[in-house]
Symmetry: C2
């Protein structure tokens, strides 16, 4: 089995699983209970939040734990009822909320980066929130958030001069970024940042939203008042303990993994044949998006599955619904290029051997598919 779809899901690593286990079985107490063992669980939960927060240069009290990135993204948008801007290549959990609130898309350049000129032009005096993912989930494109926040600072300064008192917040979905980027909220200049345990070898169903002091959110759910009243419900203790462990491990292996994936990416790019590289620049090293124009990538996925190689065509969610990728369309790919695109995402389940093997198998499968297509088109003549 060669799994090359780490952007869609990651396994819970052994160390993470081990860290979580006692909180399922022995330290299962409700953190709100009054007796000592429950208070210990509550303290462990807070310490885990502090670990996650620390990894992005924040404090535990800045984080709202959620059931995943989708909820965190939705929660981020409660910061305003006014004008929203979002990058046109955002994940559905940002796009759909933004659209529902009358948000307007910001264009990307053909290289996948945010068009800063377009961004600047679209910001009006009414704009209150801008959402741009740190790393795109289909291309791995790393957005220049500090440049975006520089523009935002300029706008704010200009507004101040003109006596306009309106917030202008920067939200970023960093779901795909934690494994390979050293994230610091102050350096990035973000007010709201989404994190996702499930993409960083932590458990599914756990995420977090970093919230700066400038942002005022409204809870999506009310009740017991947990998470400073922003997200009620008994805390998912094992989930958050696992999330913290996963974040810690990611930080520890950041540099090593970066080098490793860069080397593996090179191997893929040199050993694969007759492909077109889509995410040439500005992408996370773990993302290799390639295109076989004229070939149906969905058939490649099935053929590769038979060889035990698991890859994706577009974002997993979009793919299963039979919708063409809006991301690949946004960077200017043609219909047939989009249809022929594969996303390979490297990760901890892989070895260099596997990467070489995968390249070989992809080459084989593409060759076969081309032959098959040639034969079929001959038959029609």
């Amino acid at each position: 089995m060669i799994y090359l779809d780490h952007a869609a899901a990651t396994p819970v690593s052994d160390k993470v699983f081990k860290a979580m286990k006692p909180y399922f079985t022995t330290d299962f107490y409700n953190p709100s209970a009054a007796y000592l063992p429950a208070k210990k669980v509550s303290a462990d939960y807070e310490a885990a939040k502090a670990t996650i927060a620390h990894a992005i240069g924040a404090k535990a009290s800045d984080l709202v734990i959620t059931a995943g990135a989708t909820e965190a993204n939705n929660l981020a948008f409660t910061a305003t009822k006014a004008r929203i801007l979002y990058l046109e290549t955002e994940h559905d959990s940002v796009r759909r909320v933004a659209e529902a609130r009358g948000g307007k898309p910001i264009r990307v350049l053909p290289n996948g980066l945010v068009d800063l000129k377009d961004l600047r032009e679209r910001i009006t005096d009414e704009t209150e929130l801008i959402s741009i993912a740190l790393v795109n989930n289909e291309l791995g494109t790393i957005q220049p958030l500090s440049e975006v926040s520089r523009i935002i600072r300029e706008v704010k300064l200009d507004r101040m001069k003109r006596g306009i008192r309106k917030q202008l917040l920067l939200h970023s979905d960093a779901s795909q970024a934690l494994t390979l980027l050293d994230i610091n909220v102050a350096r990035l200049g973000v007010d709201l940042l989404t994190l996702n345990a499930a993409k960083v070898y932590g458990p599914k169903g756990v995420g977090a939203l970093y919230v700066s002091h400038d942002a005022r959110l409204h809870p999506l759910t009310v009740g017991g008042g947990q998470e400073n009243g922003l997200r009620s419900g008994t805390e998912n203790v094992p989930g958050v303990i696992g999330f913290a462990k996963a974040v810690e491990l990611a930080k520890d292996h950041l540099n090593g993994n970066r080098k490793k994936y860069a080397a593996w990416r090179k191997i893929l790019l040199s050993e694969l044949k007759d492909y077109e590289l889509i995410n040439k620049k500005h992408a996370l090293d773990s993302f290799v998006v390639i295109c076989y124009d004229g070939i149906d990538a969905e058939r490649l996925v099935f053929l590769l599955e038979e060889c035990g190689v698991y890859v994706a065509t577009g974002a997993a969610c979009a793919a299963s619904k039979g919708v063409r990728s809006h991301v690949l369309a946004a960077i200017g790919l043609s219909e047939s290029q989009i249809a022929g695109s594969l996303r390979l995402t490297l990760g901890e389940t892989n070895t260099m051997e596997q990467v070489r093997e995968a390249a070989e198998m992809i080459n084989d499968v593409v060759k076969k598919e081309k032959k098959f297509r040639a034969k079929r088109s001959m038959a029609f003549i």
Copy 2:
């Protein structure tokens, strides 16, 4: 260690943990991915949902998986923007949402049961949703939901005769009920039913909302469109697999547990001394709520903690915030009765020996506390 707070949290049972494990580590795929192992995970997830649904006489497609009961309760209330009625003894996750939407409380009788006369009188032609928990989380009171739904049917019939076309839905939070009650949505006559894995020896952070065909909900979060578009976000596969196993086990042991807890309750009631029983009738056998008028139950909790006995004063969430229980106030208890109330909730971590021991220790602690108080008041004379 004698844990008598199973209404606040339950440990994940061994069988549940074992069922979950592979979905963390080996079967970790994103259910939306296109290759076979991911499709198998997706099928397992759907099968787990079917198991949960089956336990309440419903189909998998009737369930929306959530991050717990609080989210499920919040989601249930999206069924209407019109008039809501809720039982005054409801959990905060119902009360707060209902209040925020202008909902009006229905009274309970001194025995904790819904005042059906008050309910009938409060239903107007504008009422669209009524929320009454199947089992109260502080008293264990089992509400006569089928009688409530009979009244609702009468109202609907009357509305129909008068040409009033307005929905009238019954929602019930059944979080505390799954371990000891045989729940059937049709028999209960509910349109919306909240379930909670964490109260039934399943994992924290997982719940479900049963939604009948009559109810039209609006998602709290949008994105990838999972759960029929009602709750986006990558599915918490291990959580739901664990939830299903927990529900299955609960069903298997329903009768045995019912007998066991009934016997243990009798032991507690006969061996405890000088207490007043609060939930005399209509309560789940696992709930024993007692009162020592004039004594501070919070001190009892700490003294018992020193003996390794863990009990609660009120609902765990309310207790930690230092708020007096609105439930005990609603059934007419005085301030000093409320302050002297303990909630003991029996569960699978207990043995008959433990129950006897706990009774003895509670008696000891109460005796000591009474002596201490007598001494102190002497000192002031």
